[in-house]
Amino acid sequence: MSLFDKFKSTAEQYNALVAATERDPFGVSMDEIKGPTRAIVKGKEIVLAGTNNYLGMTFNKDAVDAAKIAIDEAGTGTTGSRFANGTYAAHRKLENDLAEFAGYKYCIVFSTGYQANLGAISALAQPPNDVILIDADCHACIYDGCQLSGAQTVRFRHNDPESLDKRLSRLDENVSGKLVCIEGMYSMFGDVAPVGEFVEVAHRHGAQLLLDEAHSFGVFGDGGRGVCERDGVLADVDFYTGTFSKSLASIGGFVMSNHPELEYLRFSSRPYMFTASPSPANIAAANAALKKIAEDASMRTSLWENANRIHAAFTQLGFELCAETSPVIAVKMANREQAFMAWNFLMDHGVYVNLAIPPGTPNATSILRLSVSAAHTNEDLDAVVGAYTALSEALAS
């Protein structure tokens, strides 16, 4: 018996699948980055269609320049945590700018989006009397936040406010705080939550709502403020979490709220207090990207045009898609083996997407997850559609 025994069966399964294809889908290394939508992998240029670079700002000139200046002026790292010795004026400024942009009163910046959810949930809910209710398809960091909190956690059916309603009704009177956690757009299928209905159900039962807009910030809503803006309930969301690692093209995370008590997290949230703050370059890049989102809606327009084009093309090719049009377009595969084969086929045809297999996917499905970027050119999208056309022919034969 050893510590490693527990990995054996998963490792065997994984190795067999990788051996049957030429590449390891979870070990792709981008040898050279040519831009937001292109990279060189093993000497071959491929189109990147499996990122979270929705607005395509990883090479935005203002963001790149701001990051360079920040390094010159403030150094490469803060060497300290937000709580103790790693809060610079730039962290505070970004908190203010995010709050102002989204229309919340308070904002706290964390080192990643993972830590923002972990930190908010674990600090807000405490055993034995608080209860957390989470959508079954929530991201790992929401599950981990529940575990770190130790509070009783109940799952409800994905995107099903009635299922939440039932579970809230069943709670007994001894329960004190109730925290409901959902996401705006879900990362694997690209499906979107009925946020307005969830707000109504949660508040009717005296619960508070945490909404993770990691994938929808900058993407949904007239001002890019997320699904809650689109649904007209932004001001009703109790805790709005997000990340810099997708549309803001950097690294870091945040929690926003209109509750003044949010500030208590600064001395009670361990994932805020005990890890180094984002580096000056990360903060400067995120702040520049935020400014661009606030001032310029054209990236969002291009993103949705590109998403519509791909969704329509895949529908026409007869692929089974997991959701309505959104910047994440997931194609359902028959099983793991077919998904591995198809993923490899697309790489051979110069297109990188994400292979996602159970247990990381909802309903034990195997999918090819494609994400569209505002930076995708017509040429990029032609290559994507070409590769999927060839794939549909290969699957049919």
Binding site: C146, T153, A364
Partner: protein
């Protein structure tokens, strides 16, 4: 051969019938069957089975409880306890 052990407990029979479609290896389902080690059902699928059970019995089974459960018998016992508590 696969099959479900005789048992007059309705909760056991309900759970076994929900698990049977995922029992690819054709293991005989008893109270001692370990859902993850014996049946190789992944942890997320166990949570999904529990969701069906919750809706059938109109109870909520916290994730914290499920993570400590390994065998079908332990799940049956947990449901009996919760049914008493939540009714």
């Amino acid at each position: 051969m696969s099959g479900i052990q005789e048992d007059d407990d309705l909760v056991f029979r309900k759970i076994a019938s929900l698990i049977e479609p995922l029992n690819d290896k054709g293991v005989k389902l008893t109270r001692e069957t370990d859902m993850i080690a014996d049946l190789e059902i992944d942890s997320v699928s166990v949570l999904d089975i529990v969701m069906d059970i919750e809706d059938s019995y109109d109870i909520s089974i916290p994730v914290n409880t499920i993570s400590e459960i390994k065998t079908i018998g332990e799940l049956v016992d947990a449901i009996h306890d919760l049914k008493k508590e939540q009714s």
